[in-house]
Symmetry: C2
Subunit: 244 residues, 2 copies
């Protein structure tokens, strides 16, 4: 049945999409102190992939990436950043070997990689007709990914880690108000290691992007920590880098 | 004659290249205290463009960008960085209107943008059969660029300026030994404005990527300034960003 669907879609795609180009997205969310990534499982092969799709003939590439993710997450206007092109000739070698050469999916595809930072709590996951599962996975408990999707994921995580080193991060990943230790936990999760608390505090304060609030997080065993939020103007200035 | 050539190439390109994908490169060089960019002028239309080309069916995308630039500059292993995809539907609208719809060049192309930092003195410029001129132009004296190539250039310059704010730059643009004021001039040229000398010195020293040499630049009217070079290990560490 899924075979029939793939063949049927092939004709439709030749008619409406641009051959040889795909978009694949690494969608990050943060939940219960874990960095999560959105993965889909193919109904036929049971292989895991990043969510992706094709570019329609009358569609800009960025719009295609937004459309594909809206279908998976229900979200509009996702913060999506193109971060790399994956254009090696053998990147999906063997994946559709058993099909006819005229199958749309069997072409050589050059994939445009996007990463997204989304508010985990707002996402409503949905499968498409190729997949039987769409789910969040912790980045340290990921299944094996098919084709070159592990490389695409690794490249996105590298970009995110580099971005941490010179730009603030968190505006799309944390709730509106958070404690410094929640922010530190986000950084630790992305970097994959623990950080010294004092150093972290000093470095974060140097970005000068936080607003401290009067109210405190209640209910902990220890002294109630202060709540902070990002100053949106300073945050966006800081994204531009230092001013020489 | 150029018309005949374009039509002849069209058949060849349908046979050997991947439709809908192009590569365009913003090649920066530094000479006589000016930031230069490599431009080509089309023989037929006399319009200026960034150097670009297509991706062969058996070729990785990065290799295609290297090949295209080697043809223009004679250089191998250029420092090339993919920095953006230009995939709007109307980006080359009107450019090949007078030709048959089957013409290769008239397709919708999604272009992969690369930027390169090259040693100006090593470049040997060459035209291809579409172009009658290939030359360096100062970035403040550029001709009008056709299609969306001004946007591609602007995006590359923005990336270069952002990179300046958190990474060292200069290793591929300056001679092996240089004075601090030559380095400052490079930064000023990229940023398009003058910088305070003391601030610049302090910020550059904070990157901790320079080696100071005993010998000095001779021949100036003033006190001979010290020569510096980049410490390659520290330079590359610094490119990775700060270590949390």
């Amino acid at each position: 049945m899924i075979d029939d669907y793939i063949v049927k879609m092939s004709d439709e795609l030749w008619a409406k999409a641009i051959p040889h180009i795909s978009v694949d997205s690494v969608v990050f969310g943060f939940f219960e102190n874990q960095l999560k990534v959105l993965l889909v499982r193919m109904a036929k092969t049971k292989q895991w992939l990043l969510p992706g799709g094709y570019v329609f003939k009358n569609e800009n590439t960025d719009a295609a990436a937004q459309r594909v993710l809206k279908e998976r997450t229900g979200l509009d206007n996702i913060y999506l950043q193109e971060f790399g092109v994956f254009g090696n000739i053998n990147r999906s070698e063997g994946y559709f070997d058993e099909y006819d050469d005229q199958l749309w999916h069997k072409q050589r595809f050059i994939s445009i990689g996007y990463y997204a930072l989304v508010d985990y709590s707002r996402v409503v996951l949905a499968v498409d007709s190729y997949s039987d599962t769409c789910q969040w996975r912790s980045i340290d408990e990921m299944p094996e990914l098919a084709m070159d999707h592990q490389s695409i994921f690794d490249a996105a995580l590298t970009v995110l880690r580099q971005q941490l080193s010179y730009k603030p991060i968190g505006m799309n990943l944390l709730p509106a108000r958070f404690t410094i230790s929640e922010l530190q936990k986000l950084y630790e999760t992305i970097l994959g290691r623990t950080l010294n608390r004092g150093n972290f505090y000093r470095r974060i304060m140097r970005f000068d992007v936080l607003i401290k609030h009067e109210d405190q997080r209640k209910g902990g065993a220890h002294k109630s920590p202060n709540l902070y939020s990002f100053d949106p103007v300073k945050y966006h200035q800081s994204l531009q880098g230092i001013d020489w």
